[in-house]
Symmetry: C2
Subunit: 346 residues, 2 copies
């Protein structure tokens, strides 16, 4: 048996909520327990998706289970989130989506109306993206389990020929693009839970980013070095992952980071940093410096791409750090959080 059980270094005695929240604890669970046991080359890249060869054709493959609570929230719901989230993982994995699977775990007692609304939301999101849900599974668990429903979606796609993504292509001088304002999804979910006496005119940013990625690839494909959707753990976690994998620094200019007023307000009241808040319809792209103008022109020409802008750059030092820089030029290191202020946001 070749399963290398002696390489597991995960030490926690029990799993805690933080292990699912997208920060350091999540990374430990994945890197210290799961990856050593499932050891193989595509998995070790720890990207949002893996590409395997099937009969000479590269197939990009990605999976996500959605446990968002509540099931429905302003601007979205678990069904559309599950479809768009997996489509987006294919997109930032450098692939054009081909098909999806859908597996539902439904709690006994869930109303037909709620289930039907979520299946409709999945169907509409898939239809809008032009990607069929071709296979599925339904399980039912006892009342009191599963918070209504959990949804797994898995996607397959075809890699874009023009792309050669990877942290090893990233170099000093490369520019960091962001598709739009950050934190809308996480703060929307937080407010929708109703535990706080706060409300705001805010919706999730959940959407399919495939049209934006396609426009970007068409315009500057070979100049795109790295793509990621900053979901759990936000932009800070995404850029910490990048910084860990390259001998460079990722720097974001604080004043250029787009944050809507209600998100900024809620973060100030709650002591949160918008950089750590989850997004479900944004992406971060690292592109070669000479491709920035064409990249932004292409994104601005696509519906929903008008908020794209350059928010930072790759520098030589301090290596393997993600920093923000304020307008006076001083920087601060923004580390991974251990957990996340907002569990179960997707």
């Amino acid at each position: 048996m070749s399963v290398p059980t002696d390489t597991v270094t995960f030490k926690a005695e029990h799993i805690e909520m933080a292990h699912g929240a997208g920060g350091k604890a999540s990374r430990r669970l994945v890197e210290d327990l799961i990856v050593p046991l499932f050891d193989n080359a595509p998995l070790r890249t720890l990207g949002d998706a893996a590409t395997v060869q099937a009969n000479g054709t590269g197939i990009t493959f990605t999976t996500d289970s959605f446990v968002v609570h509540p099931l429905q929230f302003p601007g979205g719901s678990i069904g559309e989130l599950a479809v768009n989230g997996t489509l987006n993982d294919l997109s930032v994995g450098g692939a054009q989506p081909v098909a999806l699977s859908a597996a539902l775990i439904v709690e006994a007692g869930l109303s037909r109306a709620t289930l039907q609304a979520e299946v409709e939301a999945m169907a509409q999101a898939a239809d809008a993206a032009g990607v069929p849900i071709v296979t599925g599974d339904t399980k039912v668990v006892e009342h009191g389990k599963a918070d209504g429903m959990y949804v797994n979606t898995t996607g397959i796609g075809l890699p874009f020929d023009a792309l050669r993504l990877g942290a090893d292509h990233v170099q000093p001088g490369d520019q960091i693009l962001l598709s739009g304002p950050v934190g809308d999804h996480g703060i929307t979910i937080l407010l929708a839970r109703g535990d706080l006496a706060l409300s705001a005119d805010l919706e999730t940013d959940s959407r399919c980013i495939a049209p934006l990625i396609e426009a970007l690839v068409e315009a500057v494909g070979p100049s795109i070095r790295w793509l990621r959707d900053p979901t759990r753990g936000g932009v800070a976690s995404a850029l910490n992952e990048l910084a860990r994998d390259v001998p460079c620094a990722a720097v974001v200019y604080e004043d250029d980071l787009p944050v809507r007023p209600p998100v900024r307000g809620a973060c100030e009241i709650l002591g949160l940093d918008p950089l750590y808040i989850a997004n479900e319809g944004q992406f971060v792209a690292v592109v070669a410096p000479d491709a920035v103008d064409d990249a932004l022109d292409a994104l601005h020409s696509v519906p929903g791409g008008d908020g794209a802008r350059c928010v930072g750059e790759i520098r030589e030092t301090p290596a393997r750090r993600f920093l923000t820089q304020n307008p006076y030029g001083s920087t601060r290191v923004v580390d991974l959080l251990t957990g996340d202020p907002l569990p179960r946001i997707c």
Copy 2:
């Protein structure tokens, strides 16, 4: 928007355990609510897997979420079941497995030891089958949800060239082969729950059937008409599904159905019919009559294939029925159950 919401005919006001148990209620949920909304050709076949075209290559795609309770049971556990179950769905979908994804929903408070044991079980099952788990996801939900853990596995594979499976190829005179004894998995789970003062020397039959299917395909590929793994709902549900799709009858000879003594004993005590009990390492194949001997020779030559035998045949009448026939020649119609005596067996 092309989602045909007016075609939903599902009438239950709430979801019940029976909707997940593999019988008539499950079929209604899938056929009257989910399939109309996700409407597309591959899904409408309602097979264990769907095949899509990607860049001219057929890719077979299947998903399953596993919610088995308890997590561990004689001869197996949720981890190996999740890997082998999805590999088997690819096999009976007529494909050679290429890669798997794994998505875990873990309950906060689960011990590391249990999680590690299940990830190891997944890794070992994948390794034994020679199929890598290349991408994954981990979510954590609050203590009290998820019964320890739920596991989704999704698989992609390459269709066997020699196979042309489909109920429309099945015709009177075709023979029904079964790979081995029925009911081991369902009865093992039932006894492992400990609610009954019964015990038996019995293990799950969970295993990867890919080597058996490969041998069968190599020996008599073009003569195989239909393949199915009789999991939830057992052989009776699998053959009811076949009978519904062909203008013929599927007949199984009662005396030829292999049932181990502890399964038969438990079924007699509990008033269950082994035909409805779930299996996790068996398959039913319908083959052309002149291929039976070669098919059985091929199966008997593979480790684990010695229990394969011919258990029935396809007849002209009564159309669209599954029957059993006793040694005296009299037959009885075996319909789908509404629910299942054993929910959450996979």
